[in-house]
Symmetry: C2
Subunit: 597 residues, 2 copies
Amino acid sequence: MLEYKAPLRDIRFIIDEVLDSGAVYETLPGYEEATPDLMAAIIEEGAKFAEGVLSPLNQSGDEEGCSWSEDGVKTPAGFADAYRQFVENGWPSLSADPEFGGQGMPNMLGIVINEMVGTANWSWLMYPGLSHGCIKTLEAHGSDEQKARYLPKLVAGEWTGTMCLTEAQCGSDLGLLRTRAEPQADGSYAITGTKIFISAGEHDMAGNIVHIVLARLPDAPEGTKGISLFVVPKFTVNEDSSLSERNAVHCASIEKKMGIKASATCVMNFDGATGYLIGEPNRGLNLMFTFMNTARIGTAIQGLAHAELSYQGALRYARERLAMRSLTGPKNPEGAADPIIVHPDVRRMLLTQKAIAEGSRAMLYYLAQLGDVVDRGDETRAKQADDLMALLTPIAKAFVTEAGFEAANHGVQIYGGHGFIREWGMEQIVRDARIAMLYEGTTGIQALDLLGRKVLGSGGKLLTAFTDHVGEFIAAHDDEAVVEFLEPLGRYKDEWLRLSLAVGEKAMSNADEAGAAAVDYLMYAGYVTLGYFWARMAVVAQAKLAAGEDDKDFYEAKLHTARFYFQRLLPRADAHRAALESGADNLMAMPEALFAL
Amino acid sequence: MLEYKAPLRDIRFIIDEVLDSGAVYETLPGYEEATPDLMAAIIEEGAKFAEGVLSPLNQSGDEEGCSWSEDGVKTPAGFADAYRQFVENGWPSLSADPEFGGQGMPNMLGIVINEMVGTANWSWLMYPGLSHGCIKTLEAHGSDEQKARYLPKLVAGEWTGTMCLTEAQCGSDLGLLRTRAEPQADGSYAITGTKIFISAGEHDMAGNIVHIVLARLPDAPEGTKGISLFVVPKFTVNEDSSLSERNAVHCASIEKKMGIKASATCVMNFDGATGYLIGEPNRGLNLMFTFMNTARIGTAIQGLAHAELSYQGALRYARERLAMRSLTGPKNPEGAADPIIVHPDVRRMLLTQKAIAEGSRAMLYYLAQLGDVVDRGDETRAKQADDLMALLTPIAKAFVTEAGFEAANHGVQIYGGHGFIREWGMEQIVRDARIAMLYEGTTGIQALDLLGRKVLGSGGKLLTAFTDHVGEFIAAHDDEAVVEFLEPLGRYKDEWLRLSLAVGEKAMSNADEAGAAAVDYLMYAGYVTLGYFWARMAVVAQAKLAAGEDDKDFYEAKLHTARFYFQRLLPRADAHRAALESGADNLMAMPEALFAL
């Protein structure tokens, strides 16, 4: 069985040494108590829960899956009990607002816990994970009365939440949605329609499920400007938060999926269900956008999680499995063959996984920290952080999930034929990882957001804010010992700016030029951004080694991995550059009818 | 349900117009009857069988899987009946030797049929497909008596065959195998040991199963030089090919796998089973190598098959699914949104699939035709063809299966969230495709074969034989109309030679340099080789258009796709070049202990 061990040393390295979180949180009102020591203690507790309770349920959950009956959805053995422990230990409220019973810790800490929980068992994380969007929506846009009614139970984890957006005919294009909301005499709405792909839409873990539903009012304009937001609880709720009646919302079936099989993906029927409007009518999509970034970062973690888990499994195997002799002579002469970690190509795959996992961890923690600055920093700092988040979030979501899928596949490859067999657990990681490039906005949607809305839409300002930041970092570390990282980083950063200008110019005369460049542009940006985080890690590691600090091996490993990244992975950006520079004609000139020939 | 339609126009284009098979087979003794018309007629019949009988069983087979009991293995509903039809229609004997009841058609035709059958249902193809190695082994190395006893029934498809190589502790490194063969008084051997990953090792489709087994004689040297080859039938066989006794070989269990679930992957126990030596003792591995190339090409087809099937499914969806408006204005103004094929990024993914499928088809048919020249051409031609095959086979096996997996993933991506749901059939293609990079030699093993044995091992001769061939092709088509393809092809070809010299030089002082470069070298070679076949197709298409022939749209589509390939995919070779040129240090310098930090 695949066992997860939380990489506590690396987590601490990024939080404390790379992101200097102690100094950052000290200056953010309300987060002063989030000292390095307190965070480390909480993370260690989270690691125990992830390793001891959730990791053992990962393969069994995949094997058993969820089952549906008219009475509801049954989650796999152990899932509900693990959730009970999760709630008892107060994990759901960790980074929630104290006003509603939260512990008020930084979101970054929540992200770290989610990483460990999700690496141990991504399917399981989907149940508490989906509450996040529901809570954020109510916090930001609910009336005081709605907040009082729903948030304490949601924050405590007694209830869970969902986001009901997708319908059969619309996923990326929510303008096409048809679910209707009819005003009732009592001020509520009767919600009617069918939503699909509703994660945690029904399950056996919590007393109530609070659905946030996108629907149209009778007089709503067509398209995205006519969508409103409603809260629709499974059981309606009395003023004192006690449960009232079973609402007319039911799970009609669950999907058979490629992966994350222990996560119930529900078809939800709303048959005149009682719902309550959140915020202004017809503003639903705008309201949703307010926490889009945090939701995307939450999904980006999946790429990191699967890269990490696959790396752990593959490394263990590569050290134990014997096959062939090293090309440079036996390394295990008394054994029948050498362990496969002696072979350069096995190391290439392992280092690719390691570089993706650790680099993504730095990127995502940084984004999570930015989120905390947005929430609590002064206006100037918050604005800067928000701009950086706006640019980097689509990169993180799409690039990290694509890279995580690659890493998961290397894990299978290192196992050879055994990787294809279910009992080893490696192929499950590939199946689980595949969804991450699809939900919460596909890679293509993220790429349009990055290039169209963020880079071109800001006239380049969001991009230069980041590249200036990178430039300052390079200038601040003008040291021979790290020039091997900073020189190429500077070169790719400058080229990124040049490429953006060139694409922008072409797109002015033909909008398809932006669409044709978008995904390669995003992947280019992803490799350069990951390069920036590897350079930051390398600079810290180099400084620690120069200062003669303990943990020499850890820092040496960072430098080796950084070197691998810059020499072996970063050059992939060049292929994406060539593809995006090739323009739209090679995609658009072929008439549609010719595709079938 | 995903329906397969055989791409007959493209198949004909490659066989007749690109590879000029009529002229080739006319000159090969015994293949004179394989005229274009006869081949086309046979292919059309094969297409009907694949489309009508096998395609409908693909998803149901995945869903049901195989089941094991002490009595044997039950294949999914419809599989055995389809096999009965296959045998009745004479398909198994199509390209087999007439001496044993075969129809004596070219191997290329067999490859075309396998492509269609395998695209419709790869799991099903595994049952007749595994017989191939068994038949080839007996044809090449069996005694006359063994041939007479086994081949007629195998060729007719009444029996099937297997290859029993892998054991739990050894896959790529067969030198570690432990199965033992004890000589018996009657000249037979008692075979004892456990083999794993035996495809079609047990099933309910045929009256007997003939296992080709690698095992060690009592006095055998250690390692690969002590392996002998045996034939071990499920039921021993009388001289007249009637069945005698149930042999002591049994299927102990079948594997639960990521994909190809309808193909039984068996653990086979040999408990003193009666076996018969094939060829000389201790020469087993050498004997196996004689048909390694055809087996690898057979597996390479899987990459082509999955790229084609995923393309067909994705194209259908991209034309029907409505989401968003084209960035350049509505293309379907009366509809609620535009079909997603108007979006550049969807076209990018579709064209990637199309370029991989059609380019791989040209590459693999070419290799199959070379195989026929090796078998039947005069000594000079046979030697030339054999050299080309030696070089190109590992490229085809590894590159086409890697590219096919990428293509299968694009198919899922085009479906968005629906791609992750089983009922659409798209995620099955990804799961089925994943095995192809693992079995019959992993990508890493193929890469070592290519760079180590073939390129460096021949002192560059095998490579220059091919690059000269490419050079002659370029020189022969010095035409402004195709210079956009031939100019970059020439450039990459020259660079390939330069890179090979550079790697060879480094490897002389450090063998790990070859291992560190191998997979990127293979991928580089793959992109250039596919470029050669796209250039060949473009040259033919251009000539047909210039000559004003019919089917203008078909040839235009070829030129568009070739352009896409050269502008968008071929530049990926540069990233592989940079990685392979970066040397072994970034993989080997890190001490093993540091991987865990």
